[in-house]
Amino acid sequence: MIETREVRKSYGTTQALDALTLTVNPGEVLGLLGPNGAGKTTTIHLLAGFLQPDSGSVIIDGIDVVKNPDGARGRLGYIPENVALYPFLSAMENLQHFSALAGLKFRRDELAKKLVTSGLASDAIHRPVSTFSKGMRQKVGIAIATSKEAKALVLDEPASGLDPHASHELSMLVRKVADEGAAVLMATHDLFRAKESCDRVVILQDGKLVQELDPRSLTANDLEKIYLKQMESNA
């Protein structure tokens, strides 16, 4: 489970998050929508323990991230907007290395399968990632995060730069991870993908949670309209 309670965070005089309270249950995918600067990335960084909140608490699978960041990270998978990998290693070697760091050991065929499941073409598995496009790196990043089989998965604009097909595959993968029992929080601008893969979406603006929606009861166009209306009303 992913949980934030009354979390506040400011950068100097700028209030990035204002009493944010969120809960993502196991098996659930929560979409975090919002314009640039709404506080989506700050929320994710707080969840991963990269940032310390000014007040409030952040909990991953029952572990307080502030008190025990290493323990919390052990239960968390993370996919950044731009996945960076060791350029001198192949996709397989990157996955193998990061899995080993997480204390996981996979056979080569298992690693290959995970990469393919993440959408990477099988002929790219052994190529150095320095030759990869952004989308290909993103897929390796997804493989790394999901291979950890974490209780919680946070994704920061994961579909950014992916082609529609890869983006769809990502949605499916996220859904699968959630179905296997993980709590997934995904910050995104892509309303269509949010509708496709999320159980709930929340709209964040100026660090505050302004609206919560059930995407399954809406069409993508409805979702877009609500979102834009929300932005206009707060502008």
């Binding site: 991963a48 310390q52 290493d70 950044p80 996945v83 990061f98 204390g103």
Partner: protein, 485 residues
């Protein structure tokens, strides 16, 4: 933890083997090490060859003189005023030198052995003075000395930190440059353990390379067999120096900057500790305690010597006999030639005590200059390390001071032997002549480094350790505040 450890070993192997530059850097380092060992061994060979030449020259002259004894002659046929049964001529023909023999480790730390002379004439009558050894630098190519020597100490003191820099500068900072630090942190069981392992692996790898070079050097020079304890100290100090640099660079990395900033800081540390600090310390100390033009020495060698030679002999007889209670002035006035020889030795003895004084002053000024340099020891690790190994190898200034003392003692011993022979007022026989051959010990001067060496290096290591902790804390707090990793 074990899986992280194994994963990082594999990762380090991949990181280095797939980077041509890093691979080249390791090869260059090893090549330099091998070359330095060979070059040092070549230097020591020449040194040994000089000593062989010296010995054969002495032997030739002494054999000639012993031949005269065997033939019942007292000197060469064409110079009938030479009489080796007279102490002053016996001194001249009983050719002997005091020599510094290279320690096996000298090939790995040649120190000052190409600047200072390792031998001096032992004679009581030929103006032998401990500080009047020939100056090899003046007779040779000074531009070669300026370029510097290429021994293993140079490779380890200078080049090893650079290799460490090449292997370490992007540890953690590469992840920052590429923006993957967040992913590393979420993937790793313990980011701190990950960082410690990443930082220590290049250090251990370089330490292994250093050990390999020390081992090869020890085998090539015979130091392992001949002076195992000293070789072991050489290795130990070198490893300590490697870890010190590892700590210094770890302090830089703990600040959590990008790789170019880390490299800049590391190279700044290297320039500071290996180039600027030693040179600046030398410049500052030499302006405080200049060597100037040795006028105190030259005055003794010329004016005071002449004053003694031309002065009233009675002024010198009192102190002469007072210092040698076993001797007394001859009861009957001997022959004029013998009186002249006795007076000459009395004057020579007076001059020798002046020489002793000058030698003492020179040593004291050297020691005080070195004490002034040592005050900066904790910020001068390259020099402290180099000095420790040179002391161990018997090629540092302290070795030459001891050598100078041995020369002085040998000359004094020779002088006293001549005085004894002269005061017997009998011709020098073959046995007495042969006893003059003892020319002082031919020995090496390797010894344990001064105690301050370790404490100076430890102070810097402690400072680096504290800095690592402090930088790490500052970085963490900054990251948690700003989110910028």
């Amino acid at each position: 933890m074990i899986s992280t450890f194994l994963a990082l070993i594999q990762f380090e192997y991949q990181r280095i083997s797939r980077s041509t530059m890093r691979f080249v850097a390791i090869c260059v380092f090893l090549f330099c090490g091998f070359y330095a060992i060979t070059s040092g061994a070549h230097h020591v060979e020449i040194w040994k060859q000089s000593l062989v030449e010296l010995e054969s020259r002495d032997l030739e002259q002494r054999t000639e003189a012993l031949g005269w004894f065997a033939n019942g002659a007292v000197g060469p046929e064409d110079r009938d005023w030479i009489n080796i049964t007279q102490p002053r001529w016996a001194d001249r023909y009983a050719a002997a030198h005091a020599a510094m023999v290279p320690e096996p480790l000298a090939a790995l730390a040649i120190g000052l052995s190409d600047i200072r002379s390792s031998w001096a004439v032992v004679s009581a009558t030929r103006g032998a003075q401990p500080f009047r050894t020939s100056d090899p630098s003046t007779l040779g190519n000074a531009e070669k000395l300026l370029a510097g020597n290429f021994d293993l100490v140079f490779v380890l003191a200078y080049l090893m930190p650079l290799l460490l820099l090449v292997l370490m500068f992007d540890v953690g900072s590469l992840e920052r440059d590429l923006g993957m630090m967040r992913m590393v942190r979420t993937q790793t069981l313990s980011p701190r353990f990950w960082w410690l392992l990443r930082v220590s692996m290049p250090v251990f790898m370089v330490a292994a390379l250093v050990l390999i070079l020390c081992l090869i050097g020890g085998v090539r020079t015979g130091a392992i067999e001949a002076t195992f304890d000293q070789w072991l100290s050489y290795c130990g100090i070198s490893l300590g120096y490697t870890f010190l640099w590892g700590l210094l660079f770890a302090a830089v990395l703990s600040a959590g900057t990008g790789s170019s900033t880390a490299a800049l800081w590391m190279v700044g540390l290297w320039i500071g500790f290996c180039v600027i600090v030693p040179a600046a310390v030398r410049q500052v100390v030499s302006s405080q305690m200049p060597t100037l033009y040795a006028s105190e020495t030259t005055s003794v060698l010329r004016a005071e010597r002449y004053e003694i030679l031309l002065g009233n002999i009675e002024n010198y007889k009192g102190p002469f006999y007072a210092a040698r209670p076993q001797l007394s002035p001859p009861v009957k006035t001997p022959a004029r030639a013998i009186v002249s020889d006795m007076d000459r030795l009395v004057r020579q003895a007076a001059f020798m005590s002046e020489v002793e004084g000058v030698s003492q002053n020179l040593s004291e000024s050297e020691v005080s200059r070195e004490a002034a340099v040592a005050r900066f020891g904790w910020i001068n690790p390259a020099y402290v390390y180099q000095r420790a190994l040179c002391v161990l190898s018997g090629t540092e200034s302290v070795s030459y001071r001891q050598h100078r003392q041995v020369i002085l003692d040998s000359v004094k011993e020779r002088q006293e032997a001549l005085i004894q022979a002269q005061w017997k007022m009998k011709p020098v026989d073959k046995e007495t002549f042969e006893s003059l051959f003892s020319h002082g010990p031919w020995m090496g001067y390797g010894q344990a480094p001064e105690k301050g060496t370790y404490s100076q290096l430890l102070v810097l290591a402690a400072a680096a350790f504290v800095a690592t902790g402090a930088f790490s804390r500052i970085r963490k707090s900054r990251e948690r505040k700003t989110g910028v990793v």
